[in-house]
């Protein structure tokens, strides 16, 4: 029995070794041809790019130039388009889009949205964000129901780029689900929704059925969009029991810097989570009211280094009164507070050595 097993082991191992030698030979041959194909592709791609640049500068020649592109160029053209689209802006970007539409790339991307490999579908959804066309918008909406999150994110991003998002809730349903740690790509989709969706985002904050993760993203987007109309909703939610919401709300309020936030930020300075206290310090510095000095003074003695640091920076941001406070604390404050006050004064070139 043992001998049979041993025989099996050495025969199997030898077979694998022989197989390896065969694979080695095949790989070397494969590499040889792959290098040749790659070189050919690189050269053709360079030509296509040169031609595309020429046509972007001379749009009247687009129809005529179409003859120069062969059917086999489609694959390379997609790559060239992807590359150039990121580098061109304004009128030139529009011309490139027209060129690519004439070359049939929009149709190609629409077809690719049904490709069995998910990354090809995602790539197509991403590229379609350059074509403002009713068919594209419809197809992207369908892509929001794709089984892969990556495809749905790419579709949502393209819809946002085309300013064609009809309802933020649809985006929430497509991208968030039960996720508790959503990708920053989703954060970016929310940020790029545009000012026309501010009211919808505010509504999300009030709705109890909306997942907390979606609320965090909505708060972040409102802060980035800079809408003071959102301050009231943010003030309603800044002391929420869910920590990420408290942090996001305080961050958004810091960005907005509205004076109505003052009392909320002063209360948030006593939050149990240091992240919220640090954000509260930043917010108080941003509002710039002298009323915040005692609270910032208290935060300067916080256990957490980052809270102390932001409190000191906020005091400095308050101007003369804040600097006087920093000087006083640096001379006779509690050691941690005194060190931080002195350090920030030194950093700003105001310390008396």
């Amino acid at each position: 029995m043992a001998d049979v097993f041993l025989k099996l082991v050495w025969q199997a191992s030898s077979l694998l070794a022989v197989l390896s030698v065969i694979v080695t030979s095949l790989l070397v041959v494969h590499r040889f041809f792959r290098n040749r194909f790659d070189l050919r592709d690189t050269n053709r791609r360079r030509e296509l790019r040169r031609l595309a640049v020429h046509l972007v500068n001379n749009p009247e020649q687009i129809i005529e130039a179409r003859k120069q592109y062969g059917k086999s160029d489609r694959r390379l053209l997609l790559g060239v388009f992807e590359e150039m689209r990121k580098q061109l802006k304004g009128e030139f970007a529009e011309r490139l889009n027209s060129l690519m539409r004439i070359m049939g790339l929009m149709t190609e991307c629409l077809e690719r949205l049904n490709h069995p490999i998910w990354y090809r579908r995602a790539q197509a959804a991403e590229l379609l964000g350059n074509f403002n066309d009713p068919n594209v918008v419809l197809a992207l909406y369908r892509a929001l129901e794709d089984r892969r999150l990556e495809v749905r994110i790419a579709a949502a991003r393209s819809l946002a780029r085309l300013q064609s998002v009809q309802s933020v809730r649809e985006i929430v349903n497509a991208l968030i689900g039960r996720q508790t740690d959503p990708s920053l790509s989703i954060t970016e989709v929310f940020r790029s929704l545009g000012a026309q969706h501010i009211d919808e985002l505010r509504e999300l904050l009030k709705d109890r059925t909306v997942p907390l993760t979606a609320k965090v993203l909505a708060i972040d987007a409102l802060g980035r969009l800079g809408s003071l109309a959102a301050v009231e909703e943010l003030l309603d939610i800044y002391d929420h029991s869910h920590l990420p919401i408290r942090i996001a709300a305080m961050q958004a309020l810091s960005r907005l810097g509205d004076p109505r936030t003052l009392s909320a930020a002063m209360l948030a300075a006593n939050d149990a989570a240091w992240e919220v206290r640090a954000q509260a310090a930043i917010c108080l510095g941003r509002i710039g009211s002298d009323e915040a000095v005692p609270v910032l003074q208290q935060l300067l003695a916080d256990d957490q280094w980052w809270v102390r640091y932001h409190a000191a920076q906020a005091l400095y941001a308050l101007g003369h009164r804040g600097v006087l406070c920093l000087r006083a604390i640096s001379e006779e404050g509690q050691p941690d507070a005194s060190n931080m006050a002195w350090g920030v004064l030194r950093e700003k070139g105001l310390a008396m050595v």
């Binding site: 001998d3 041993l6 025989k7 082991v9 050495w10 025969q11 191992s13 030898s14 694998l16 070794a17 197989l19 390896s20 030698v21 694979v23 080695t24 790989l27 070397v28 041959v29 494969h30 590499r31 040889f32 290098n35 790659d38 990121k86 490999i117 998910w118 990354y119 995602a122 790539q123 991403e126 990556e150 790419a154 508790t180 740690d181 990708s183 920053l184 790509s185 954060t187 970016e188 940020r191 280094w305 980052w306 640091y309 000191a312 931080m340 350090g343 920030v344 030194r346 950093e347 070139g349």
Partner: protein
């Protein structure tokens, strides 16, 4: 006891040892087969993620986390200026380079001061991790994102910790002063943090051997293979470690090593585990284990990831003496880490890292070298004296040599299908031949060095060994690798 009885006992013992060695080899090979299959599955998904990833979006999308690149430097006068220029030219939206001069005895600090026009910095920083005395912090007049920390010598970990204290950004990228990070590698490395911003704790990149490549302005101009066999064999080892082991471990969220030569860590998590340990030379593996342990102990959800398309190039030793010193040190570091985290070994409380990750290290890297060496003596002798039969001997030889060649060649296959370099067919042929040849001599030599490392560990030998540097050459690498650089121990070789 009669002579015949003694002979029987001796014979039985030898046969038992032979079977132990063979059993170990079968386990070893089965494990590699498992890793190969898992790596293949993981690679399919990773390749799709890579294709879909858009570095341009990360560069312009304002979502990428700011990064502090922390670089410890000790007697790096030959390479430091070129290395830093290359690091300051990376593609990433917001990052700073914090270089720590760890009490260099050469002119590293003077060179830095002159080349980067340094002046004392007034930056406020938190001494969150205790380190040796910091003599001064400097900033560059020419490069606002460069900070230099000058401190007393305390070793690589201490220098890293000093850099982390001064760093301001939420992510810390640990690297070596003589490593070459590819221009877009940070954009790629940060991807897992973008996908899982809360749960991701640390991410490792791929390390490749730079020997034989042509360099220009601190960047790889042309890919080439090392000319010397020792470096060539290490090239294969790195491919095996990064293209198979890391990918396989990544698939089951059980990464056992985020290399100190190119790893990205969340700063708050690094602080939570007390920074890099100064009591081990395997500080990067120790950090990885500490992160696993901390999150399991605190019952926190977390992830560690490996990104195979984020590449950092490092030089591998080309001489027997330096390689031996490096391998002994690595093995010593491994044993130190195993000793420190012995509670985790075979402990189901630590999930897959306890049951598989660290236990694998213990069996394959801790005990394995002794069994391999034992087998090299005992099996041929047993066969020569007729204690073992031919099928046993053939099975042993086939597992030892044929299977090793099989694994190496298939790792190269995995590398080949994902590689974006234009490797010449001739180079590939050389690599394949080296993959077959390394099983005859080089692998056994490595086993011996590990045993020497074990000896050093039990003698409590300390330190990193002597530095040897000859500096970058503009279009060719002739530096000798530093025995001190972390240079990515290919764990689970």
């Amino acid at each position: 006891m009669s002579e015949a009885d003694a002979m029987t006992i001796f014979r039985s013992t030898v046969v038992a040892l032979d079977w132990l060695v063979l059993g170990y080899l079968i386990f070893y090979c089965a494990h590699y087969l498992f890793q190969l299959i898992t790596a293949w599955l993981e690679l399919r998904e990773v390749r799709r993620q890579e294709k879909q990833a858009d570095p341009w979006w990360l560069l312009t999308g304002q979502v990428a986390f700011p990064i502090s690149i922390v670089v410890p430097a000790y007697n790096e006068e030959k390479t430091i200026v070129d290395s830093l220029h290359a690091m300051l030219a990376l593609h990433y939206p917001e990052y700073e380079v914090v270089i720590t001069n760890d009490g260099s005895k050469d002119h590293t600090m003077e060179l830095l001061t002159t080349a980067f026009d340094l002046r004392p910095s007034k930056r406020v920083f938190h001494k969150a991790i205790p380190t040796k005395k910091v003599r001064g912090v400097y900033e560059s007049r020419r490069f606002p994102n460069l900070v230099v920390v000058d401190k007393e010598n305390g070793g690589r970990s201490d220098a890293n910790n000093a850099g982390i204290n001064v760093a301001r950004h939420p992510l810390i990228c640990s690297t070596d002063a003589d490593s070459i990070i590819e221009p877009d590698a940070l954009l790629r490395l940060v991807r897992p943090f973008i996908l899982h911003p809360q749960e991701m704790v640390a991410v490792g990149g791929k390390i490749r051997a730079v020997n034989g490549c042509e360099l220009h302005a601190g960047r790889i101009k042309k890919f080439g293979l090392p000319a010397r066999p020792l470096a060539l064999f290490q090239f294969i080892e790195y491919v095996r470690a990064f293209q198979m082991c890391r990918l396989a471990w990544n698939n089951i969220n059980t990464l056992i090593l985020i290399s100190g030569a190119f790893g990205l860590f969340k700063r708050d998590k690094v602080l939570a585990v007390g920074g890099f340990s100064t009591d081990t030379v395997g500080e990067d593996m120790d950090m990885t284990m500490k992160l696993h342990r901390y999150h399991h102990d605190q019952k926190l959800k977390y992830r560690l990831a490996y990104v195979p398309d984020a590449v950092c190039w490092t030089e591998v030793p080309e001489t027997h003496r330096i390689l031996r010193s490096q391998r002994c040190r690595w093995h010593r570091g491994l044993l130190e880490v195993l000793t420190k985290h012995k509670r985790m070994i075979f402990n189901p409380r630590y999930g897959s890292i306890g049951l598989f990750g660290i236990s694998y290290l213990f069996i394959i890297d801790g005990v394995g070298p002794f069994l391999e060496l034992l087998g090299l003596f005992i099996v041929p002798l047993s066969y020569a004296f007729g204690i073992l039969n031919e099928p046993f001997f053939l099975a042993y030889v086939a597992l030892l040599f044929c299977y090793g060649a099989f694994v190496s060649v298939w790792c190269l296959f995995l590398d080949e299908i994902t590689s974006t370099d234009r490797t010449r067919a001739r180079d590939l042929l050389i690599l394949m031949l080296a993959a077959l040849l390394e099983n005859f001599g080089y692998r056994q030599l490595n086993g011996l060095w590990r045993i020497e490392g074990t000896w050093q560990f039990f003698r409590k030998q300390q330190g990193w060994g002597k530095m040897t540097r000859t500096g970058f050459k503009k279009s060719n690498i002739t530096r000798k690798a530093s025995p001190r650089s972390s240079a990515a121990m290919p764990a689970g070789k």
